[in-house]
Amino acid sequence: MTEVLQSTPDREELILNMGPHHPSTHGVLRFIVHTDGEIMRKAVPDVGYLHRGLEKIAELQTYPGYMPFTDRINYLEVMFTNMAYATAVEKLLGTEVPPRAEVLRVLVCELNRIASHQITLGCITMDLGAFTPFVHLLRERERINDLMEALCGNRLTFNYMRIGGVSQDVPDEWLKQLEAFLDHFEPVIDEFDSLISYNEILIKRMGEVAVICAEDAVGFGLVGPNLRASGVDWDVRRDLPYGAYPQMDFQVPVGMGEKGTVGDCFDRFIIRVEEMRQSCKILRQCLANLPEGDIKAKVPKMPRPPKGEVYSCVEGARGELGVYLISDGTPKPYRLKWRTGSFAGLSIIEHISRGLMIADLVAVIATLDVIAPEMDR
């Protein structure tokens, strides 16, 4: 929905309002676009339409009691938010997670990363006007949802991890299903590539559009795929290893400027396709060497971490996902703060939107992969 709000007669500037309800699929967010004909002067994002006060709620919950709320921080990467919170509390408590639980965590995280990228890639293509790939990817996503439901009983809000481990062990049956899914899904990525990624129209819409240079990307705090697309070779999984990632062998794709300049929309798109391949690779390694043993360390029912503070981060599907947790020795957190990729990602839009066409704005939002709950929390 785009409506004319106000235009000044003396200057040829038109102010358009875009959102908070608009037919792209990133949750509710709004842009105030200053345009000069088709060219944007600037687009000012307005966020907060999904602010749920999850940081305040944390102060009213016990440590294990906050776990279900972490699912709602970002419903597309639930496993990562679970894991970021769990690792933060474990760091404070000094808990050692059993090896089987560590590998299981990596396994579900990578599965979740594929599901999240499927939605992202589908949304990018849908925002650019192609509806079919979106339905294709949703079809594949249903299979992941089925796997997750078999594992933890919900299709979206998994609440799978616990402080000190995971809640359920995986049955062998499930591992076979996962393998069958991987056998099916890896060719689908190639099909996606040949059908969509190198489609001429998509390249024209995304190549050379909204180039973010490495300096800007670091300065504005972009993380994850957006940062790597700008040519900064950084991945928390590889560079600040946590969990079972040191045992895994995978490549980190970096933007090459394949169809334009390094850091354009196409780079941000193609990196995510490549990451799905790498996730499949990690999943196969997890399946091959899943250790036996416990799935949960011994943690008191009502943990009281010692006084202190900790920052713990994991590499989510949208980049570094951090939790800053302060404990005062009571069973409830004193303060909890989420550092999310989308919040920083959106703040750069005002800076890069100058001089773009209006139609490119959706491409920028879609490829930056911002999602409302993560920005607003």
């Binding site: 929905m1 339409y49 999904l50 709620i57 009213l60 079809r139 299709r155």
Partner: protein, 182 residues
């Protein structure tokens, strides 16, 4: 009130009250607004996806409220968003229906302790169908949509169109007509 379809010598014909005929047509062309606020929106998308295809009920999504019949409140509603949702609702043409999807839209759900979440969509909109779940499965959303269909079937539509019908669901925040766009 559903009209019966009969087969005659020169093709078929339907017998029944006009209301029933109109309702039959309305019931099978429910267009919903493509709009979601939080997690439940993903399930709304999946419901429109290949597995539980809502197109078979004649339900397709529309991107503008002017063409939509059903508003699905999919997700948590914050105070900042509530006034915008009300604006969207006011822009929809009569007859319009509201489905509250998920516990957040029903009662505020998980976020009872939050300072920023509206404790239920029915505090500012007349809601027709409530779907429990966090998030509801696509199947339950389909059931909710079918409940709306049943409701439409029973409605005395002509009376309603002439303004002689009082709804049993009063609007908690009535607006006079449509708010003009700024």
């Amino acid at each position: 009130m559903t009209p019966t379809i009969e087969r005659g010598p020169e093709g078929g014909f339907a017998v029944g009250p006009i209301d029933g005929l109109l309702n039959l047509a309305r019931k099978h062309s429910l267009w919903y607004l493509l709009f979601g606020t939080a997690c439940c929106a993903i399930e709304l998308m999946q419901t429109g996806g290949p597995r539980t295809d809502t197109d078979r009920f004649g339900m397709v999504f529309r991107s503008t409220p002017r063409q939509a019949d059903v508003l699905v409140l999919a997700g948590t509603i914050s105070y900042k968003m509530a006034s915008r949702i009300r604006l969207l609702y006011d822009q929809m043409a009569e007859p319009k229906y509201v489905i509250a999807m998920g516990s957040c839209a029903n009662t505020g759900g998980l976020f009872q302790e939050s300072y920023a979440v509206v404790k239920g969509g029915d505090l500012f909109l007349p809601v027709d169908v409530y779907i429990p779940g966090c998030p509801p499965r696509p199947e339950s959303l389909c059931e909710g949509l079918m409940l709306i269909q049943q409701k439409i079937e029973r409605e005395p539509w002509l009376k309603k169109a002439w303004g002689k019908y009082k709804s049993d669901k009063p609007d908690p925040m009535p607006t006079e007509g449509c708010e003009p766009l700024r």
